[in-house]
Amino acid sequence: MHEKTLAELSQALRSKAISSVELTQHYLKRIEQFDGALNSYITVTPELALEQARTADARIAAGDAGPLTGIALAHKDLFCTQGVRTSCGSKMLDNFIAPYESTVTQRFIDAGTVMLGKTNMDEFAMGSSNESSFYGPVRNPWNSEHVPGGSSGGSAAAVAARLCAAATGTDTGGSIRQPAGFTALTGLKPTYGRVSRWGMIAYASSLDQGGPMARNAEDCALLLQAMAGFDPKDSTSVDAPVPDYSASLNDSLKGLRIGLPKEYFSAGLDSATAAAIEAAVKQFQALGAEIKEISLPNAELAIPAYYVIAPAEASSNLSRFDGVRFGYRCDNPADLTDLYTRSRGEGFGAEVKRRILVGTYALSAGYYDAYYLKAQKIRRLIKNDFMAAYEQVDAILCPTSPTPAFRIGEKIDDPVSLYLTDIYTITANLAGVPGIALPAGFANGLPIGMQLLGPYFSEARLLNIAHQYQQHTDWHTRAPAGY
């Protein structure tokens, strides 16, 4: 059953070839079998899953099923799920049972999906390798010595290892696309505001965006259909009509203008990755697309700007974790200051502390203009770069990261080199534009990811482009050995 894509499972469920309970039991068994080694789940919820599966089967029997009814999913552990621990990969929230449901997970409940559990992630989504999790690193199913990427590394590994049909992720600087690239998945970061952030524990509010991680573009279209839409509970959610994402998957790419940003094909790009993108370019040309070189002149400023804005917002967002109302509280606090310093000191990991410190510094009196304000100006320039590029092209093609998945431990002591792995993904978050990552080849058994970026609300077009590519390539159909 697990060989099937989400779209195929949807067919099988509705034709009653399989039941949701069978599917759920199958995945639960696989999780038990494989996840001890992979560590892709923080929490598995078998009872809840089976209960939801029975409900889904009843809906299917009653003829009240949508395309996702009965599909077994996993959710990144920063989406609040009522009555279920929502840890954010942190000791700070190890004891946090969310008292409410996030909009994204509620929409999936309404669509009749089953939640198998909550997936591992970098602590508070801060990281690009899933090594900063309080629950330990996640292994890449393609090579267990390698990272699955981050911060949605647990979701990526779980989908790649077929431990769920698909998963949710969130992308603040590439946290859906980079792990999708590292694990041969298709992952979509929607336009900022397309998917509600209500109940999604914030890392950097102006950059965070939830999205689907699945085996192919067709599955992503089905998932995004459920996730996208205006939410009055999120002021940054956009009240724009949601198109039928599956309807345009088969549109022709004839006349499609694809831009290659010259800044993204310079030194530092791994040769196998460069070759894979080149091959993809040929494939797109064969499908009728027109290729143009474009420029994103301020792209090189993206990393420094991001590492001011994201930590600045994080330093404030994470202030609520103070040991007073929820989450970790130190033993026997002597006084209020002791309660704060030890609860936070003991509850947060090193990378989270680093970003809180950086962000606090960037917002401090006397430094605000030099750091935060300047970074916001760069952000505007980067957005302008994209707007100018989209006057010439319909989509931008580039790698998801400079190299395939690196080894566990390889970059953990060198935060800057780890930050640099986000170089191709961060710009889309700063500009708020959507991007889809998909597999473009393999090198030494490790997947190579590429991404397509588009103008605001071009998710349907991006899914269409990715789907057409996947109709003529088979990278996305490959499964890691042993799974």
Partner: protein, 482 residues
């Protein structure tokens, strides 16, 4: 040395919205702890704020009333600091782009002169919760019912030059926000709180002295006392060769002292930055015009109208217009009796002292405006004298009848104007006081004047106050001369 006092006030007005500024929780005062705190108010991970449109409207009303620039694009910012009753670790406030910009407010001082006080700005923000230190045996309880209550922080220019001016300003703001219906003004419940920035400088010096901020003063009386105390402290300090240190102080009304809370060096770096969870608030000109259309007649306008329309004195007009409910009451009395001056006298005299004695608000007055109007009518048509009217008023206040007429009827208080009856009564009085009559007639003009009062008193007594005093006067004079 002659010292000049410089005062600026920051007034926090709690806005009367049904729900909180960024969540749907109710804002009722006095509910069981933590029963009016939603996910947003608790700062739950993943929760997000959504701005309450009514709070925006209320702020704009205030801005229009003080003739201020409205921030057509205003921005919410996070003020970051740790405190147990601040659930998110930051307060959502406004910093660089507030909803209300520069404006001004005219205040009437005790001597009747009008002074214009500059309004620097007014911005929207959320209130924090409350830390409860009693009943927890060395621990602290947190009540987050108040967290997220909308506040309008109104910042004045340092334009006030005495504690009395500061109080007059605070009272004018108090009156204004109540007129606008944007704040209930209940200072005891903390609906209106005041921070006073106080400094002194030698008279004639252009630059300001170092200021101290006195936090959270919650009554007009305390504003005056706290400022006067702080001014004295600063002057004594400087005259003793010391210097004022910029700091935040707390006023202790029990001991009538201010004491240091934290110095400038200890002050938080709030690390303000625009709240990424909230978009800039863009206000359309048409919306402002629609709000302007909803503005009631404001205290200053009402005062002018009371003077021009009713011919009231500046003092009477300003007392009667200071409070919307009082002004409405007065106007109802005026309408029902048709005599603005009599209405003003009764409202500011008998009625006010009755309310003061019973510690009642005008809305709780035991005598309705219609009842008082009816009473005044009976004075006007000579049914009763002013003296009897006071008795009737008391009876109305005690609930002894539904109307002045009913009480007059029931108690037989109707004034006697039948001159025959009065004459007969006077004859009896004079006969009973024959000796005094003799004496009167023998006296000169000056002495007679004094003695006349005695006969009037006797006559009124005999008539139980019901005889028309004018007629008594005239007829008595005639008879005594006779």
């Amino acid at each position: 040395m002659q010292w000049e006092i410089v005062i600026g006030l920051e007034i926090h007005a709690q806005l009367t919205t049904a729900s909180k500024i960024f969540s749907g929780s109710a804002t009722t005062f006095g509910a069981e702890p933590n029963t009016q705190a939603s996910l947003v108010d608790l700062g739950m991970p993943g929760s997000l704020p959504v701005l309450n449109a009514q709070a925006v409207k209320n702020a704009i009303k205030f801005g229009l009333a003080v003739d201020a620039e409205i921030g057509m694009t205003n921005v919410f910012a996070r003020k970051n600091y740790f405190y147990p009753d601040l659930p998110k670790g930051y307060q959502i406030s406004q910093m660089e782009l507030p909803i209300v910009g520069k404006g001004h407010l005219d205040i009437t001082l005790e001597d009747g002169t009008v002074k214009r006080v500059g309004i620097t700005r007014a911005h929207l923000e959320e209130d924090a919760g409350k830390s409860l230190h009693e009943d927890f045996h060395g621990m602290t309880g947190i009540d987050l019912n108040r967290a997220g209550t909308p506040l309008l922080e109104i910042v004045s220019e340092p334009d006030m030059r005495s504690a009395k001016e500061a109080v007059a300003y605070a009272k004018t703001i108090h009156s204004l926000v109540r007129y606008l219906g944007i704040c209930d003004g209940n200072m005891a419940e903390g609906s209106l709180r005041c921070d006073c920035n106080v400094s002194v400088r030698p008279k004639g010096q252009a630059e300001f002295g170092t200021r101290c901020e006195i936090k959270n003063v919650n009554s007009f009386r305390f504003i005056e006392k706290a400022i006067n105390h702080e001014v004295q402290r600063q002057i004594e300090l400087i005259e003793d060769g010391g210097t004022v240190v910029q700091e935040t102080r707390l006023y202790d009304p029990n001991k009538d002292v201010t004491r240091s809370m934290r110095s400038k060096e200890e002050a938080n770096d709030y690390r303000y930055f625009p709240d990424p969870d909230l978009l800039p608030v863009v206000i359309e000109p048409a919306f402002i015009e629609s709000v302007r259309g909803e503005l009631p007649e404001l205290p200053a306008q009402k005062r002018e109208r009371f003077e021009s329309q009713f011919g009231l004195s500046a003092y009477d007009a300003s007392v009667l217009s200071a409070q919307r409910e009082l002004a409405d009451y007065f106007e109802q009395v005026q309408q029902s009796c048709g005599d603005a001056k009599l209405a003003a006298n009764w409202v500011m005299g008998e009625l006010s002292s009755l309310l003061n004695k019973a510690d009642l608000e005008i809305e709780q007055s035991p005598v309705s405006a219609t009842q008082l109007g009816g009473l005044i009518q009976r004075i006007q048509d000579n049914t009763i004298s002013g003296k009897i009217a006071k008795m009737v008023f008391e009876a109305l206040a005690n609930g002894e009848g539904d109307s002045a007429d009913a009480i007059i009827e029931a108690k037989g208080l109707k004034q006697v104007t039948d001159s025959g009856a009065i004459e007969a009564m006077l004859d009896e009085v004079l006969a009973a006081n024959a000796a005094q009559v003799e004496q009167y007639r023998a006296s000169d003009e000056a002495k007679r004047g004094k003695m006349f009062g005695f006969f009037v008193g006797q006559a009124m007594k005999a008539s139980k106050g019901k005889a028309n005093p004018q007629q008594v006067n005239e007829l008595l004079k005639k008879k005594l001369e006779g």
